[in-house]
């Protein structure tokens, strides 16, 4: 039965307030966090739930936690049935399967009461700097074969009772992580942020009354479901398939097949099935179903209805499936710490399929990003150092526009300035520049790859690399050419030894590692490119004279 009507002005006020609470929860968390992922990469999420655990509103933060929140709330309620929750409680968990697919993401779910009646939940997640396990950051890929090597696993526990943090649980956690002060700070920041959001939610209930809020919730879920269905119904009915390959999961390993079959029923529902993909792999890169779902929902939103507020209603018409035991739906204890490297590729795979349904909305594949870590003992101080870098290059070309140069792809992070790196770590960056002729040619050119060279100024260090697209090129679309392959080269001005995209290497003083990101895919046939655009690219150096001749068949 549908809810009785509620006037549009009250509804507007309630919905706007709910979204504002979810946003404010996130900005509070970001401003006080220590973890780089939280403050630079918005690697966290916020959510408001009704008293049965239905998702009512979310802030616009990490897509990676997007689809995880509803499942997380359900698992919390399984462990803590509604009647057992008390004012002043808050539940903590980080299980890879229940949450967002790896241990560093801690979730806190706080029940909210008004006059001793449960009215809903506020929740937030945060990517912690460390959760213990095989390597700093708990995201080591190669050589990690089961989740128990990845750090501390927290099934739902009552972390806060009567408003007081359980010091025993806290001690248990902090005893298992590498940077206990920061983890403690971020766990507290999450709790404080939830508290402030909770008090605003209580105020909303006091202003409007529980009955009006409940009715408003039903309308919000129905309307957002309807809006999503309308958007999905506009996509021509049919099944659209695509497959691509991740290079591998470490030196001397096989490629991982990433396949999707997307079926639009033409009436407002869509199913994304990843079953044809590879099996689970013995490295910490598997994608638990919540993570798969998160990026699949993100991609559908991008294609169909990006601006729509995120609620359980908007997710209802989207079904995500993957064969049990496959790469995209592994069973515990599959290792998964480094699954972040997949986000660009999950999007690329769905984008490839969607290009067959909505070619004008799709784009050539992204240039792949690079996420190397240099670590060792700093000769100058005797202290350990870890230099973590993020490099992003171009977007694929799309109908009507060349790919944007050097923009963060699916995940959304800032880079780290050269001057900041050099101030804090014993390295020198020798180059940071576009690589001409690497963007996939086409009517609309893909963005260029990026070259970033690091010289080690320390006596020794270990490089652990995380990259991809060294084997399989970023595809072009609708007749556009693929982007150039990426590569990683040790001492490019010496013996120029190629390095593996997911390998670990010992370096010595003076070694230069040159990271060269792939170019992004082009869109549309080269012959259709505006000659003026080719000349402009030549003038700006995005292509060379040789590139103009070879890729665009034009004499400069």
């Amino acid at each position: 039965m549908s809810a009785p009507p509620i006037d549009p002005i009250t509804l507007t006020v309630i919905w706007n307030t709910l979204m504002s609470i979810a946003e404010e929860l996130g900005t509070t968390l970001r401003n006080t966090a220590f973890s780089e992922g939280v403050r630079e990469g918005d690697d966290f999420a916020t959510a408001l739930f009704d008293r049965t655990g239905r998702l009512i509103a979310q802030g616009n933060f990490s897509p990676g936690h997007l689809g995880s929140m509803p499942a997380c709330a359900r698992h919390v309620i399984e462990y803590f049935p509604l009647e057992t929750l008390r004012p002043g409680d808050s539940i903590l968990l980080n299980d890879s399967f229940m949450c967002s697919g790896h241990f560093p993401d801690t979730f806190q779910v706080m029940p909210i009461f008004v006059d001793d009646a449960l009215v809903g939940f506020v929740a937030c997640s945060a990517h912690q700097v460390d959760m213990g396990g095989a390597a700093p950051g708990s995201q080591k890929v190669h050589g990690v074969t089961e989740a128990f090597q990845e750090g501390l696993r927290i099934l739902p526990v009552r972390f806060v009772r009567d408003g007081e943090i359980d010091e025993d649980i806290l001690r248990l956690i902090l005893g298992n992580v590498r940077m206990p002060d920061k983890v403690r700070g971020d766990l507290l920041a999450q709790h404080t942020a939830n508290l402030s959001a909770g008090s605003r939610l209580q105020q909303l209930f006091r202003e409007h009354g529980g009955e009006v809020l409940e009715r408003a919730y039903d309308i919000i879920l129905d309307r957002s479901e309807q809006a999503m269905r309308t958007a999905l119904a506009a996509v021509p009915a049919g099944t659209y398939s695509f497959e691509d390959y991740l290079d591998d999961y470490g030196p001397d390993t096989e490629p991982i097949k990433m396949a999707v079959d997307i079926t639009f029923d033409g009436e407002g529902a869509v199913e994304l099935d990843f079953s044809r993909s590879s099996d689970v792999v013995p490295a910490a890169i598997n994608s638990y179903i919540n993570y798969t779902r998160a990026y699949a929902v993100f991609a559908i939103k991008v294609f169909c209805d990006a601006r729509q507020p995120q609620t359980e209603g908007a997710i209802r018409p989207i079904t995500i499936t993957a064969r049990e035991g496959s790469f995209f739906n592994p069973a515990f204890p599959a290792p998964s710490g480094g699954r972040a490297v997949l986000q660009v590729r999950i999007f690329d795979t769905i984008n490839g399929a969607m290009a067959k349904a909505l070619p004008h909305r799709a784009m050539g594949a992204f240039s792949h990003w690079s996420n190397p870590n240099f670590g060792g003992t700093d000769d100058r101080t005797g202290q350990p150092f870890v230099m973590y870098d993020l490099a992003f290059a171009g977007y694929g070309g799309r109908d009507g526009r060349d790919g944007v140069e050097a923009l963060s792809p699916v995940m959304n992070c800032t880079n780290i300035p050269v001057e900041v790196h050099e101030t804090h770590s014993p390295i020198r960056i020798k180059r940071l520049e576009f690589i001409p002729d690497t963007g996939g040619a086409g009517q609309w050119r893909g963005g260029c790859g990026l070259r970033k060279d690091f010289e080690l100024l320390n006596s020794t260090a270990v490089l652990s690399h995380l990259g991809d697209r060294h084997v399989f090129q970023p595809y072009g679309l609708c007749g556009g050419e693929p982007g150039a392959l990426g590569e990683t080269v040790l001492n490019p001005d010496g013996n120029a030894e190629p390095l593996h995209s997911k390998g670990m290497y010992d370096l010595k003083r003076g070694d230069v590692v040159s990271f060269r990101l792939s170019g992004a895919g082009g869109y549309g046939p080269v012959a259709e490119r505006d000659p003026g655009a080719i000349m402009a690219d030549l003038a700006d150096g995005y292509i060379t004279e040789e590139g103009a001749r070879n890729d665009y068949h034009r004499e400069p």
């Binding site: 549009p8 002005i9 006020v13 220590f34 002060d181 050097a406 001057e419 900041v420 180059r431 700006d540």
Partner: protein, 701 residues
């Protein structure tokens, strides 16, 4: 002493002439608001000055001081109409400017573009050189590569050059050598060095600051020269002062050398005005709220001092970090929202949405009758009875209430099954909610408790929404200053000359840091003195020091006020204590275990405002109230607390005198602004004529 201030805005140019009556002629203030002439802002300035001098019955020779705020630099950047700029940078780093910081300002939108850089890649040239972060030379500067870069850029049509090399904040020698070379080889090209304009680390932001400075330099130079000549023609003999983004004044010579500093000149003056009004009313903590035709701006004054941020983004979208071009210049803290009288309302998913699309001034709201078809905030305010259709903007235009009502009915009322009044109220409410979200960012999120703040509301539409907005976040008092419609120009009259300098010196802060900090401040003071000499006067400035610090490992610095006076051995400890205080205020917790890292250091030198030695309130003094008006008018206006339309008292502001009180619901009208007083609230008139609304405690959230 007679002083004239003018603020050139996008839509209007505002003037204030103030005579403090020290010649025995009595205290007088004249204000004027005329349309801006965006193609040549000087045209409006000259015609306005002529009218203003006519009103006051004096000639240009009688003016003692001219103070000025302008959008000429901002508009050149926003419209990408600056000069063709060439950039010289370190070999291997040609793409720093184009790469930027890479984060999308909307996570869920993969179709957005980055802000377009001010220099295309073809106009960026590399030179062979390299410094390290300590300022040590890794690779000496190769002059042959410099010559080649200069020639390439000149051949490419560059009219102005920016030089931004890696780590130049630590050692400017290579940038300075390049400048010397350009002066020899291409003396016609103005040069902006990143080590001079903004010696701070983080290469993208520093490069962009130098580039933006170079980009607007020829335009600002031309504009200043013309303005000075025109003023001279009017018989004006003294120096012109220009408002900087920091809220301090400088001479045209400094504005021409560092035009990037005047980029937020007008809005800065508005915040300053809010601070002066607040201080005069005994309110040290003020939120300023300025709402005009296209945007609303929120600023803050803490403890009597306008809040200043060390960086600023030009062309910010929906106050999202990374959406604009960042520049390292101290600027008053301002949050700009796309909510103005012209913001368009629509029905969306069975609800009301307002903005960010705007009908602007052309075609403008439906009620202007200039072809606008979609309902706007102004249309809603008219239908709600808040705006007088006959006296809008001083009676310059008559508003079409029926057309406004029809548009609201068609686009909001009918789709949502609401009466016209309800629909108009919904638009007003949603517009206020949008601003409330921004106000929460400025207040709660940045550690300001709204209950301790007063709101100073101005701009044409500000005082219409102010009381509602204050209620929503719990601000107890709203002050609508006299001259609310020309607030920024009034603020100019109160500004003092000021120089800001800053530098990056990264260090771990411990008790022994005193000597190192003393060295940094000696360097900064020397730099500030170079410019202070140009400001003349020889008077001793008031110095203000700030550090930008964080826990080592964090990514965002906290702004820390450092003690004044000599820097002794205990200064490190004092700085640590100051950091703890600032951090606690902002983030509500401290981590005694963590190490503190200082990154940037800044120094402001503020001179006494000796040309405007009058007290803060003089600018607002005025003639006796005009009590000759007719009987109080009654108009129906919408107040949901009273159940919808109710007969509401309409009062002319010029008929109000000191000590009078007005109980809401009521509307106070003045030629360029309208004040809405809500049921339950009470307004009174201060001794100088400001209107003070006390928000009913029952209305607080």
């Amino acid at each position: 002493m007679i002083r004239v201030a003018f603020d050139i805005g996008g839509t209007f140019t505002d003037f204030v002439l103030h005579d403090d009556g020290d010649d025995g002629g009595g205290d007088q203030t004249h204000v004027l608001k005329i349309p801006s002439t965006p193609h040549d802002p000087g045209v409006a300035v000259m015609s306005g000055l002529e009218r203003l001098l006519g009103q006051a019955g004096i000639g240009g020779g009688a003016i003692d001081s001219v103070l000025h705020a302008t959008t000429v630099a901002t508009n050149a950047v926003l419209e990408r109409k600056g000069a063709a700029t060439g950039l010289i940078t370190t070999q291997g780093f040609r793409d720093v400017l184009i790469i930027g910081r890479q984060k999308r300002y909307e996570t869920y939108d993969l179709y957005i573009d980055k802000p377009e850089p001010l220099v295309p890649r073809r106009h960026i040239a590399e030179v062979v050189e390299r410094m390290d972060h300590d300022g040590g030379v890794v690779t000496p500067l190769d002059l042959a590569s410099v010559d080649q870069a200069i020639d390439t850029l000149r051949a490419g049509g560059a009219e102005t050059i920016a030089v931004a090399l890696l780590h130049s904040y630590a050692n400017p020698a290579h940038e300075q050598a390049i400048q010397a070379r350009i002066r020899e080889r291409a003396p016609e090209l103005p040069v902006s060095l990143s080590s001079d304009v903004s010696p701070k680390f983080r290469e993208y932001e520093r490069t962009n600051t130098a580039v933006a400075n170079a980009y607007v330099k020829p335009i600002v130079e031309r504009y200043m020269v013309q303005l000075e000549a025109a003023l001279k023609e009017q018989g004006y003999r003294h120096e012109l002062f220009v408002m900087q983004s920091s809220g301090g004044l400088v001479t045209p010579a400094i504005a021409k050398a560092y035009p990037i500093r005047i980029i937020e000149s007008g809005p800065a003056a508005g915040v300053l005005m809010g601070g002066i009004v607040g201080t005069a009313m005994g309110r040290d903590h003020v939120i300023t709220f300025d709402m005009g035709g296209t945007t609303a701006k929120l600023g803050a004054v803490d403890g009597g001092t306008p809040a200043i941020m060390p960086t600023f983004e030009i062309g910010h979208v929906r106050y999202k970090k990374g959406s604009g071009l960042p520049v390292n210049i101290p600027a008053v803290e301002l949050l700009e929202i796309g909510a103005g009288g012209g913001s368009i309302a629509r029905a969306d998913m069975g609800m009301i949405a307002v903005g960010p699309e705007s009908a602007g001034a052309d075609p403008g709201p439906v009620c202007y009758g200039q072809g606008g078809a979609l309902p706007t905030i102004t249309d809603a305010n008219l239908v709600l009875g808040y705006i007088n259709p006959d006296t809008f903007n001083g009676g310059a235009m008559t508003l079409d209430q029926d057309a406004a009502a029809q548009a609201i009915k068609k686009y909001i009322g009918e789709p949502l099954d609401l009466s016209v009044g309800d629909a108009a109220w919904g638009i007003h409410l949603v517009a206020t909610m949008n601003m409330e979200n921004a106000l929460r960012v400025v207040s709660v999120e940045r550690g300001r408790d709204p209950r301790r703040y007063a709101m100073v509301a101005f701009g044409g539409a500000g005082p219409m929404h102010a009381a509602r907005l204050a209620r929503a976040v719990g601000i107890p008092t709203v002050i609508v200053p006299l001259g609310a419609g020309v607030g920024s120009a009034v603020g100019l009259l109160q500004a003092a000359p000021r120089i800001d300098v800053s530098i990056t010196r990264v260090m771990l802060l411990d008790g022994d840091a005193g000597a190192a900090i003393a060295e940094i401040y000696a360097e900064l003071e020397a730099r500030a003195r170079l410019e202070l000499d140009q400001l003349g006067g020889g008077q001793a400035p008031q110095w203000r020091r700030q550090g930008y610090m964080r826990y080592a490992g964090q990514g965002f610095e906290v702004q820390v006020d450092l003690p004044g006076g000599p820097i002794g051995d205990d200064f490190g400890a004092q700085a640590i204590a100051a950091f703890n205080e600032a951090y606690l205020q902002k983030h509500k917790f401290l981590d005694p275990e963590a190490r503190i890292e200082a990154v940037d250091w800044s120094l402001a030198a503020i001179l006494r405002n000796d040309r405007g030695h009058g007290s803060a309130n003089l600018a607002f003094s005025r003639n006796a109230p005009d009590t000759t008006g007719g009987p109080p008018e009654i108009r129906d206006a919408w107040f949901p607390e009273a159940g919808g339309y109710v007969p509401t008292r309409i009062v002319e502001r010029r008929a109000l005198s000191q000590g009078m009180t007005i109980s809401g619901p009521a509307i106070v009208e003045e030629p360029d602004s309208t004040i809405v007083i809500l049921p339950g609230d009470t307004a009174r008139i201060s001794d100088v004529g400001h209107l003070i609304i006390e928000i009913s405690p029952e209305a607080a959230p």
